[in-house]
Amino acid sequence: MFGLKLTAPAGILLAALLLVPTVLTVLYSVHDVPANGRSLGPFVGLENYTIVLSSNVFWRSAWVTSLFSIGFVIFSTLIGLAMAILLNQRFVGRGLARAMLIIPWATPWLVIGILWKWYADGSVGGLNAILLKLGIISDYHDFLSDPNSALALTVVAAVWRQASFAGILLLAGLQTLPDDLNEAASLDGANLWQRFTNITIPWLRPALITVTVLNIIYAFLQFDVIFAMTQGGPGDATQVLSILIYRQLFGVTQIGLGSALAVILGVIALVGGLLTVKILYRAERTHG
């Protein structure tokens, strides 16, 4: 009873911040809620879900969200891992490099989006200047107006921030790896790759699971960077589900439809996260 009392404030806070909005969203999703929100409006059952699931706009957006998420999760995890391994080595300026790792992570998503929009600008952006100098492109190109490159560029911008977050978590994991494990393996003749796959990765597996699950959730819920860079365009090339939800809820105030979309996205993110945990933990148990 005493313990319950002690945890009550936190419980109430969690309920207010998570439970109430969740219940309200589910409730809205089965009503035709008027824009002014003065009533729930008529109960429509699963009609909003039917409208959403039978719409090409939804499926196209779900496809774009999947592409974005796959790129985001893979690259932010891998680059984060590479940065963590690099910063775990001894070299001059390591302290400064570790401090710099925090900078992208400390920058708000929206600011990252604005920065990258300018950086990728087709007339004055620095990205074009660098690619031109490297001989990768022959002329300035407007990447954000090109449906083939806009999504990729939003992934790059989001990864730029998220990789540093992954790097920080994985670096913390690497620092707990005893040096004598690698030394013993070296003495036994294991090369760098063998040590990486048989010692480093298994050791980091718990941290990697955490990082991957967080990255999946961040990927599905990503909004700020994409909105700042493209607002979902050109056309619907970068219209991920979160932008579609924003448009429905706040642009055209179709509260019921927007809520149904939000519930669907929530379920996708939840299932995606749970599946990842299950797969990765099973792999951990298999590898012992």
Partner: protein, 447 residues
């Protein structure tokens, strides 16, 4: 002029002719000035009014409002939020129960806001009929709905015009500014082929703005996209497909830069000012931006009508009055609205004159263009009679834009038009998709 209050009643007994005439003159004067005095008489409200605006020259907004307060009116708390995302922010505030007395709004949202109980009809408010009567006939449908309800007052108005670089045209051997779609295409080809400018034509083709261009170019071809009941009739006219063919060709052939799908108008103005573009279709007041940028080509940029017929789209964003229960407060807010969206207590276009000076914005009142102060406020490079004539007879507001389902259609146009420009849809498919978007918006819930 319709008035509300007369100056107090007096008995007429015992008056001589002179006294009667004096009293009659005073009454006539009071009648003429009544809207002005009425405002102050009704502004018995002693609290503070709340006004919400987007962030175009916020200091000017505050100065103008302070000017109104200084005349013995209530203080006004002006909140300013960014233009980008203004509509979602405003709706979220109102949905959350924020009571805003007067706010800027996009015209296409105005009827929806009335229907949701977020904005009040202006019917019967003192002087409101005079305000409407004072407008260009072409502008009235933006503020008066099909049922005759007055739903908004103007914040500013503009007409879409063609901006062109006169020097470049002369260099290319083009004698007169092109007007029809074919003329603009041909001129753009010549300018590009002669390497005078790489991508001669720019338009503000971001998703949110495609709907305005839809009306601009359809009107230019003599097509009003929707009938008064809101039926999408653009599909019935073969010229609609022709407009879309032209858009797609301009973009696909590189006559417009690829970046126009995401460029903001500031960048487009700068391209005109620096000589990176030769044609720019947008609101007339963008000539001020282009000239004031002081680029190497700024002084060579001129303004002319779009299309030979000089039929273009008249736009304007609006002011709406919140649903205010307190009568004194409502009257005070309405007085502020009149000042901000029509005339001041002396019958002058004080606010509009300031916007004309600041940015070349216009007002949908014929009197605005005849006001010597306004004429003086517009820089010499504007052809004010042309703009006035365009308001009067050369432009339309498309009344369907204020219908309650319209914001849903507006939100869908960008995706469809971008697909066309990117070559992902044919002009024919674009007509079908836009018709479907209009129909589904009218039906209600749809993505």
């Amino acid at each position: 002029m319709k008035t509300t209050d007369s100056a107090g009643k007096r008995g007429t007994g015992g008056l001589d002719r002179r006294a009667f005439l004096k009293a009659g003159g005073a009454t006539a004067l009071a009648t003429i000035m009544a809207p002005a005095f009425a405002g102050r008489a009704q502004a018995a409200y002693s609290g503070t009014l709340d006004m919400l605006a987007w962030d175009f020259q916020p200091d000017t907004i505050k100065t103008l409002v302070a000017e109104w307060t200084a005349k013995g009116n209530p203080a006004v708390n002006v909140a300013v939020i960014p233009n980008l995302g203004y509509s979602p922010a405003l709706q979220t505030r109102l949905r959350g129960g924020d009571a805003i007395d007067l706010y800027y709004n996009f015209a296409y949202n105005s009827q929806k806001f009335i229907d949701q109980g977020w904005a009040a009809k202006l019917n019967g408010l003192p002087g409101v009929d005079d305000m409407v009567a004072d407008m260009f006939e072409s502008a009235r449908a933006a503020h008066v709905n099909a049922a005759g309800d007055i739903i908004s007052a103007p914040y500013f108005s503009a007409v879409h015009m063609m901006h062109y670089n006169d020097r470049m045209l002369k260099e290319a051997g083009i004698a007169a500014a092109p007007q029809t779609l074919k003329e603009v295409y041909d001129a753009s080809k010549i300018l590009k082929d002669k390497k005078i400018v790489e991508s001669p034509y720019v338009a503000y083709w971001v998703k949110e703005f495609c709907e305005e261009y839809l009306h601009t170019y359809l009107l230019n071809e003599g097509i009003t996209a929707f009938d008064t009941a809101g039926k999408p009739v653009f599909a019935d006219d073969a010229k609609t497909e022709g407009v879309f063919e032209w858009w797609q060709t301009m973009y696909q052939e590189g006559l417009a830069p690829k970046s126009v799908l995401s460029d903001d108008p500031g960048k487009l103005s700068n391209q005109m000012a620096q000589g990176d573009a030769a044609f720019f279709v947008l609101h007339h007041y963008f000539l001020s931006s282009i000239r004031s940028l002081g680029g190497k080509e700024s002084a060579n940029v001129m303004q002319g009508p779009i299309g030979g017929a000089n039929h273009t789209f008249q736009i304007g964003e609006v002011l709406q009055l919140g649903e205010i229960g307190d009568e004194e407060r409502r009257n005070a807010a309405w007085d502020l609205m009149k000042f901000y969206g029509w005339k001041d207590s002396a019958g002058k276009f004080t606010v509009f004159n300031q916007w004309a000076k600041a940015a070349g914005l216009a007002a949908p009142y014929p009197g605005f263009f005849k006001d010597p102060d306004v004429i003086a406020a517009f820089p010499d490079y504007y052809d004010l009679p042309l703009i006035s004539k365009t308001f009067e007879t050369g432009s339309k507001v498309v009344p369907a834009r204020t219908l309650p389902w319209y914001p849903d259609f507006q939100a869908k146009v960008g995706d469809v038009v971008h697909a066309l420009l990117l070559g992902q849809a044919t002009p024919k498919k674009t007509v079908e998709d836009l018709t479907a978007a209009a129909n589904s918006a009218q039906k209600g819930r749809s993505l």
